[in-house]
Symmetry: C2
Subunit: 203 residues, 2 copies
Amino acid sequence: MSEQAQCTIPGIAIVPAIKRRGRVAALGLAEGEAIKAERLSVLELTHEGIPGDRHAGFLRPADVRVPWFKRGEAIQNERQISIVSMEELAVIAANLGIERVEPEWLGANLTVEGLPDFSFIPRGTRLFFPSGAVLAVTDQNAPCRIAGAEVERNLPGSDGLALRFAAAAKRLRGVVAYVDRPGIIAAGEEFSVRVPEQWVWRG
Amino acid sequence: MSEQAQCTIPGIAIVPAIKRRGRVAALGLAEGEAIKAERLSVLELTHEGIPGDRHAGFLRPADVRVPWFKRGEAIQNERQISIVSMEELAVIAANLGIERVEPEWLGANLTVEGLPDFSFIPRGTRLFFPSGAVLAVTDQNAPCRIAGAEVERNLPGSDGLALRFAAAAKRLRGVVAYVDRPGIIAAGEEFSVRVPEQWVWRG
């Protein structure tokens, strides 16, 4: 029994939960089939995401990001909301040698500032907004050719940029999230962040 | 620009994705308001979880585990399915000085074996079953007094065990998950496990 009891504390280092604050720099809605988002000053969230946004819904069709599913079949939607950071957009622009990357070119719903290495903010992190709205982070986002093409379309004379975009934006493309509690998010407001306990499992 | 470009590789160690295999040891359904689960040989999953199980639904009422919400308000349901491991149930039993803890006493829907330190399997891990069913892990589960009371109820003469349960089962209580793709799970079958990239963010 003593041998088994040892197993109650596996050799896994647990990093305690962390609290931080961030600020809403911009908000966007990608209507219908549009990639490019329209900039807004307020975003209204329901449990299914942003009404009218192309990523709204409890379910979504599987895409190339989840190659273990058949393309198009209905899976749980953990990509209702796409979030990027001002700081990382600046790094993507620098990597591409261009002046700026606007969040709406990437179809981002929420652009934050004040959170370093934002794309690495862990799964399960909650963002709490003054209205009571809560977002739950599900995964790091991956850059894709489609967003790169949109960046190119917005920059006359930037031919070929789409092909360089994925490499320039790798691990800088922010995160995706779902709406844990509905509410509104307003441009300029601050929000609090709760990062859950973290550890690495090696199995 | 060179200074910014450095930021593209933050000082975060990324552990690559891991593949493992496990086996289904037991299946259970907690009907209506019951805590105790009924043992089954096959579990049918929809996108809302297990039809008839008390944890089914796209949404769930907030409880004591999420103290930042008002008790009872509707939040996204990331606890459709509760999963424990045979190995950890044995450790809980040893910690309590009892012969065994049956998974149905804890209302577990799925009991697995073959995955060490199962309660630490990371958020975002996917379990792939032969039918095509896929579960996505959302969080480590936390022991509660209610489950402890159920264990006590099933063991005549174990008075007071409920109070010791939370400590004995801490970080051994398995994980919770949602149904990513519907399908069936059968007792005895093997499944594959995809643990996503892991890292620790210190912000």
